[in-house]
Amino acid sequence: MRALSSRVRAPAAGRSSAGRTSWFKWLMLFAAVVLALALPYGVSSFWIDIATQALIFGLFALSINIISGYGGMITLGHAGLLGVAGYGVAILTTHSGWPLGAAVAAALLICAVASVFFGALVVRSRGTYFVMITLAEGMVVWGIAQRWGELTGGENGIPGIPKPSFALLDWQYYYFVLAAVAVCTVLIARLVRSPFGLSLKGIREAEDRLAPLGYNVALHKLIAFTISGVFAGVAGVLLAMYNNFIGPSDVFFLASASGLLMLILGGIGTLTGAYVGAAVVTIIENWVSSYFERWQTLLGIVFVLVILFAPDGIVGAWTRHVWVPLLRRLGAGDEAAAAQTATASASGVGLIAAEDRAPSDFRGGVSATEDARSHTTSEPTESDREGARR
């Protein structure tokens, strides 16, 4: 169990190392921005399509990252929140004739409320129970979408969702999505590095220790869940407008699993991992599928391999094998160490989640025996770890 203090120290270390590495990172960021902006000029509409989808699903995966990656709570129902916003904007524009801007705002508000509601149901759970309940929540949304025909169009979904008037063409919409996603990513980056974000990581690493320290763990989780849900809602709104359509398949369990998959593939606990993973999956689904009929098997195999051999995902592997050595060569030892531990903590997500050593506990408070047991297991010795890992 690593102490929290090294977490806090990492960003500080980064900030204080000036010179070449900062400049290098800025260059990379700039290059990425230029590439993203120039994309529509270099490739066909089809690839603009793919890029737009990758960005939207990347944002969705990133929203999952807030609670799953940084918060360590795995969710399998997030497509439900994406859907609440997506259906919200669809219903308000097509059934009620609202102008698009108002509909989007209202949809996100409804999504926030839903996130609070769903979050409240889960905050007192941990580990696999958390997963199960989020799964159930997602399926409830799916059920409503599929069955409440008058409202949601049932199986047929809701077509005819308009795009913003300044983003009607595919490349225009691409820029629109790029801007929206960039803003959201920056906001999420700030959140993660804020004190709130750090306490979230604390919850991931050592939840039982935070309550005695005076943190209202349940409230933290709820806030994180809500924020995460709202960003999923943004992705939902972008998706609904992109397709001019939303349907039950957008909120089905597979959509939630897909988002999580993209995150894991790219690198859970990192900012860029969500986008990398989304890009890979989108390309397989839309491009590889034209050439290889068993592409779904391929997707499954890729996924299994990543979980077995590279749980840090693509970005994690890249950080460890390329970025860190590069940083070392550029002479930024501290920087490299920080990046290393950042990655390691990313893979620490759920690896040996403390809550899974003890039998399930649903109340936020902990009984005396529970307490004793968790204290025993939170000071790991080699044999302890072995036993827990069986």
Binding site: S68, I74, L76, L121, R124, S125, G127, T128, Y129, V131, M132, I133, L135, A136, E137, M139, V140, G143, Q146, R147, F253, L254, A257, L260, L261, I264, E293, R294, Q296, T297, L299, G300, I301, F303, V304, I307, L308, P311, V349, G350, L351, I352, A353, D356, R357, A358, P359, S360, D361, F362, R363, S367, E370, T377, D384, G387, A388, R389, R390
Partner: protein, 287 residues
Amino acid sequence: MSLHEFWLQLFNGLTFGALLFLVASGFTLIFGLMRIVNLAQGSLYLLGGYVGLSLIRATGSYWLALLGGAVAIAILGLAIERGLLRRVGGNTMAEILLTVGLSFIAADLALAVWGGDPITLSLPSGVEGRTTIFGVTYPVFRIVVLGLGIIVAVGLWALLEHTRIGAIIRAGVDDREMVAALGINVKAVFTGVFALGALLAGLAGVVGGAYLSLYPGADTEILTYSLVVVVIGGLGSLRGAILGSLLVGLIYDFGQSLVPDLAYFVVFAPMALVLILRPQGLFGRAG
């Protein structure tokens, strides 16, 4: 609702519940001991059914298919646990996601091998017919399914309560580390339990293949119902699985006819209620 309809719905609910129990019991067993949410349980069900189909095509015997399907999936389960799940030992998230990835692969490969047409397994003539109970005509096979569910329930109960292995499993559910500390080969027990859970799923698949037919998507359908069952009944509890299956089966059938407009909610509302009021399920562990 006439008396006739009442009996019909009652039989329907009980027999559907029995089928659900076969799948959900494996799911809950695996979770109870190993804390693995086996999201591939639906895939194991479907693969079991398809293996049974191939066996029927090859040998013409449904009973052989039943046995073969169960055993084949048990072996598959063994392979999955030893080859894959163990490698990520203890990492809950990895285990869950691994099972999701496997379910993708299984579903697509099943489509490639057996095609997408819905297929109903043909029953042996002995159980194909109908019988009349309480003035209600009812298919014999469904009653057999109910019987099978009862046998499995009793068998599992006997295993857990009256055998040494069962005691070890129960102890492992309570306190994994202790069991290991006592020198018992916990790994072997885990593998065995997973294989048992898979066996039950495979068996359910051959049964379901004759009852509900096999097709792409049947895996997700049955998994969804299993999840409802275990959320209501409580993860890791055999009693919970029994009660949950009965409840879901009865609610499903009576709900369709009493409140048809809310058919879907009727199944998911109890789950939602349980989640809000008693998240660990009716018989779940409260720590």
